[in-house]
Point group: C2
Chain length 432, copies 2
């Protein structure tokens, strides 16, 4: 962990903001080439790209009923109840996010409203690769399901044997996904965005992925909606003297194990507490399976920030806008109002990030890389859209004629003014 | 207007979906070059680009108090009350969109919630060019203001004399914008996204613009949030025999006058009604100031779709997912539930699009080009973001240990499991 003071944090801000230059991305050319191939040649391109990148020749991308059954047999008996417990909690939390349509008829003659309806077709990307994340399947499919999305499809890369990780399939089935396709990488994103002979074009793509998937999502954005561009993820723990150093250390390390670009940050105002946490991190790291990744992540990105007090700590946390913020302080809920920017806020010593990643209920798909300052966790609202509703009766419309005519002519949109005037003239003629 | 049947509409769909290839856009190179210049050289680059594109050398981009005062003197006396009436209605509607934070403590020992907070800094792009749109200023600034955004800045291109259109300035002041900068084009988007010596980096950019502005927004997306990528806009009117042909015609033409790429579509199931509307369009077009634009838009993009009945009409309307949908039919509100995809839905003969553009209250920034199938009108929700809140007490966390451990080890994230286990061990040690 790098140690710096609050003053050093603030003064280092400008240089530390030098993020990857989005405009020079060297993988864009291959991503664009993949998208172009899939757009032009559909399934045939997906086939050949799957052969090229996943090393497997597939006759059919669609996971069959038999493959789902086989997956159920392959997972451990303890896996299913754990998954169901998570599903129950995730469902419960996300149901509270369902928004209602509303109508306002409080002004006689005028009805205004907002109609909220689900998207019809959604595609979810689930990474395969070294580890498979069934929890991510739940976190994406359940909100879409609650929103009322009719068609929820998953794409995920095939393993070298042409199968999909069984935990992903069991989670997909439990969560209620309609179809799983064995397609990975930028070719999956292109297939979802433009459609192929097998795959229906979707309206929105969600789910995490590697750099190719992320860039492909950025490129198809506009053609379809996307959830967010996920960057390196981070945890920021604000710890006072009441936080057990071993808990803080374990939570920092749990974030660090995600990958070498993950960032564990700890903000404290007691040097001794920082030292105790650092020692605990060293002790625990040696015992962990993913020691190598953790060590790199901690050395490269880890930071202790030593500040004056809790209030400076919260200022810095807001400035970082972390994906995960743990307030391991006394009476943390009293301080909730000070927190402006964070994907998820974990309060107290018994609410570690890992609880939120799997079980608590809120979504674990969170804005990363400081984007929590302007983005939200994935939610039911991501799978619904709104339409405004306007109904004026004749007299209400006639009351607006002068004001609309004035504004429309100011904007030189005289046909707009005419659309209002013609109704006034019609009324005058009727009365004459 | 092109005439086609419902069957022809459905069968022509595939070819008509061939949209502009986003990947080959020829203006990208110049947009990227502009962004790079502004990112590297800040104000100096903005200065030189403004000189180059707007033909004016400015010492200071910031609109002064004197310029605001001058603008107030220059607008017509009828403009201000019309603007105020619009502001009142827009404010009233958008206040209903304010979302509340919530907390759920119904399970003893567990507190879950969703905290909703405003963005801090927002930039709004307002086009200059041939016409200036003060209504767009209201439609962007008011929702941001209601959300509670602290800093709302506007960028808009300077006129050749170095001034800003006075109606834009008066609207900016009335709506409550904090600062107006005289910067246009891709350089304005770059300045808002990356910041310069004068301009604070914002968190989100909203507002319409030409192709350069739209591409620049796409490129900076991820660095900042953006509202949407606006495409050619459209109106779709579903008209039964009760709809006055002259009203329908006037509304189609009001959309057509926006620009030559605008699309007026009318769906009917009575040939005579279509003919009457067509005749009215011809009669009225000849009387309109923007006859030339309207004629081109109508000839190039206008469509009558002759269907079997109202239900096929609504199916096609959902498939088009128009920006504006007018249901000029009997008892239109009874049919609201059939409408799934539309930016704004206008019911009856006295709710023309022009009413919504200026006065009714709902936002006139709507998803275009079919994106209403997955996007919403601009709203207060675009200027707020959510944070999840999680607090478990000790016993509640201990109850989850087995399930989390099972899921985390399945995902090979053993440090996640360890962050939970260490709390269990601590408890066991305390009891021992």
């Amino acid at each position: 962990m790098k140690w710096l003071t609050g003053a050093q944090y603030w003064s280092s801000k400008i240089s530390s903001q030098a993020i990857e230059d989005q405009l020079e991305n060297s993988i864009d050319q291959s991503v664009l080439d993949i998208i172009r191939q899939v757009k032009e040649a559909g399934d045939r391109a997906v086939n050949s790209l799957t052969n090229q990148f996943d090393g497997i020749k597939l006759d059919d991308f669609t996971v069959t009923k038999d493959e789902f059954a086989e997956a159920r047999d392959r997972v451990s008996p303890a896996f299913v109840p754990a998954l169901e417990q998570a599903k129950t909690n995730i469902t419960r939390f996300h149901q509270r996010q369902l928004q209602q349509s509303w109508i306002d008829s409080s002004i006689p003659g005028i009805v205004l409203g907002q109609q909220v309806t689900p998207l019809e077709r959604v595609g979810i990307y689930i990474p395969g690769g070294k580890a498979a994340y069934p929890s991510t399947v739940l976190m994406n499919v359940i909100p879409a399901k609650i929103a009322g999305v009719e068609s929820i499809v998953i794409t995920t890369p095939p393993q070298p044997n042409g199968k999909v990780n069984p935990h992903i399939l069991v989670a997909a089935e439990k969560a209620g996904a309609d179809t799983v396709y064995k397609i990975g990488g930028a070719q999956a994103i292109a297939a979802l965005a433009y459609g192929t002979e097998t795959i229906n074009k979707v309206q929105k793509i969600t789910g995490p992925g590697n750099a190719y998937v992320a860039r492909a999502k950025k490129w198809v954005f506009g053609e379809v909606a996307i959830d967010m561009i996920a960057g390196p993820s981070e945890i920021c723990i604000v710890a006072d003297d009441t936080a057990p150093a071993d808990f803080v250390a374990a939570d920092l390390l749990s974030q660090a194990e995600h990958d070498e670009a993950a960032t564990p940050i700890c903000i404290v105002w007691n040097n001794k507490q920082a030292t105790a946490i650092q020692e605990e991190m060293e002790r625990q790291t040696a015992l962990l399976e993913r020691e190598e990744i953790i060590t790199k992540s901690v050395q490269q990105n880890g930071k202790f920030i030593l500040v004056e007090d809790l209030y400076e700590a919260m200022d810095i946390a807001n400035d970082i806008a972390p994906e995960h913020l743990q307030l391991m302080i006394e009476n943390p809920i009293e301080k909730l109002g000070y927190i402006k920017n964070a994907g998820a806020i974990f309060l107290g010593n018994y609410s570690p990030e890992a609880l939120g990643d799997y079980m608590a209920g809120p979504n674990h798909t969170l804005p990363t890389n400081g984007t929590a300052a302007f983005s939200s966790p994935l939610g039911v609202y991501d799978f619904m859209k709104k339409s405004s509703v306007i109904q004026y009766d004749k007299q209400s419309l006639l009351n607006t004629v002068d004001a609309i005519t004035e504004l429309a002519t100011t904007e030189k949109l005289t046909a707009h003014a005419q659309a209002i005037q013609i109704r006034k003239e019609d009324d005058s003629n009727a009365k004459a």
